[in-house]
Amino acid sequence: MAKKLRSLDHHTQVRLIPSYVLVVTWVIFTFVLIGWVFFASFSTSQEIFSDSMFKFESGFHFENYIRAWNTQKVSVYFMNSLMYTVVSCTSIILIASPAAYVLSRFKFRGNLSIQSLLASALGIPAIMIVMPLFSLVSRLRLTNNRWLLIFLYIAMNVPFTTFFLLAFFKSLSTTYEEAAYIDGCSPMGTFWRIMFPLVQPGIITVTVFNFITIWNEYFMSMIFANKPKVRPVSVGLFNMIQAMRYTGDWGGMFASVVIVFLPTFLLYIFLSERIIQGVTAGAIKG
């Protein structure tokens, strides 16, 4: 209630004019940037690199999209990415949240060391770990195996997710656990039924991050999943762009970009509502 009152407050709105100006400029710039890609995807290569791009003298070239879709196996890549991302994201939460909870609440020997280890994992660039892994994986003949790829995605993102959720768990009051203990709830039950739901905003936010990270992840995918059947969109897009750079087909290249980016964009809009739900739900409970 108080929040609604505030936003209708005329005085506040006037105070916020500088904010509006900056935010709106930023937003317009973003639209222009992304809008340009849409325009380019309907143009010919010649038009893109000339003054006349927005005039569409030769009309809208929908065939760029058809070409991008046909010569590339965009649907296969898309389904692959979808599967990898969904499975990975759910698994990551199931693995990382218990760990984050335990690290944030319980004082035991090695707690801080484990936290430092996990944090250091964040600073280890993919290149560092990829090659020993690749040697190992090749010897085991597991290259181009979907489950291996999913396992890698999960393992790569668990440290960050744990670290992220740690801050959220830390900020929760201990009264909940005390109450649960009094009520006779087991520690594990307390976690799943009470603490876990309380960090919803954090979980939703970090899942969105993970989703996008895994969706756009291309380095590991390129090395471990190169065959078209298992390839995700990120590698597919990179290949398409490379190819089109060498063939000079810029219209087709931007069409590919749009095809690949549109689902993420739509998914993002859909998911961002969940963020807001989670956040306001947290506010109401508080």
Partner: protein
Amino acid sequence: MKKKGMVVALLVLAVIVTPLFAGGSAEDAAGKKTVTYWSMWNEAEPQGLVMAEAAEAFEEETGIAVEIVFNGREIRKTLQPALDAGETIDIFDEDISRVNSTWGEYLLPLEEYVSKSYPTTGGESYSDAVSTALIDLARQAGGGTLKTAPYQPFAFVVMYNKDHFNKAGITETPKTWTEFENVCAKLVQAGITPITVDDAYMAAFFGYNMARLAGYERTLEMANNNEFNDPAVLEFGKIWSDFAKKGYISKKAASNIYPAGQIEEIAAGKVAMYLNGTWLPNEIKGNAPNFNWGAFAWPEMGPNGNGTEANNYGAQCFGINANSQVPDEAFQFIVYLTTGEWDSKLAKESLGVPMGKNSTWPKQTAEAKTIIDNTTTWMTWAAGMENLADVNAKIKENFSKLILGSLNAEQFYAAMNK
């Protein structure tokens, strides 16, 4: 509680749905041989498209399956680790120098294979049916033994716009530096920018100039030792800062990020010349379908250096993995791609040169053939200036500044010697 239920439901769904997508690592059909080819091309490039078709036709004709993994140029990074780790790779391809020197230890010698005849070689042995010059080059690159099968030859020369030259009233291509300067002056008068470059080719540009000013041997020395205390470097600085002031070289050359030089300046018809490879027409045919191409060798620049007989040329080539389980089948596919019907198709679609013995170069790059024929000193890529990352980066930074005028010739020389 609802959340947890949803999570579980999603996971279950995923587990159920997954087997539908599984089977990524398919087993070969019983008894069928498969050749795995790691290609330097991208799926959508003309070469990629033609090869995919050829692979299908090959399988129909011979029953041998060909699996092509289109790496694109990333193959330069992904191949060796894969080979070292024992991944099944039978054929791979790339630039002739790279395959022979960098990947030389993985190659299966091919002398035996090329002395045989195949269905598409019309009774002759393979090496007789294809371009002798290229086979010789490949043999040379392999240190005396033929270890690779070349295709798609190229030369690194000045590619130019004949329409521009006509418009400016230029009737002959320049062979000496004075002639080159005159050509530039005439082009500027006609309102055309003479030459440009972008960050992918600056090192080659510099290398060629050094070879013309100080000789190829000395250039290699400079490049490999990162030592530029040669008067030729100062000379380069003077020439090009002068040219920049006169507008002979596009100001944008200082800021062009590949492929801006070839697309925004050459294809767009603003610039007349580009020191580049004969692959250029194929790369920008989408942007400039009716370009009137011509080629000439980089002119001689002084008495201490090489003249137009020193050039960089080469080819892409196929190599067979020494550990391949199916070398015969692999070479069969290579023959299939480089002779007969598929050879012509590959060349036609990519504005390349067929391997067939008496084949002609496409008109866009025909003049480059004469240059190769007259080349007596073979230069490596960029005359060696890309061998060290430090050197390459230095050249790009300082040459750009020279063009912009933020460095004069003396400062350029000093910066190159830091």
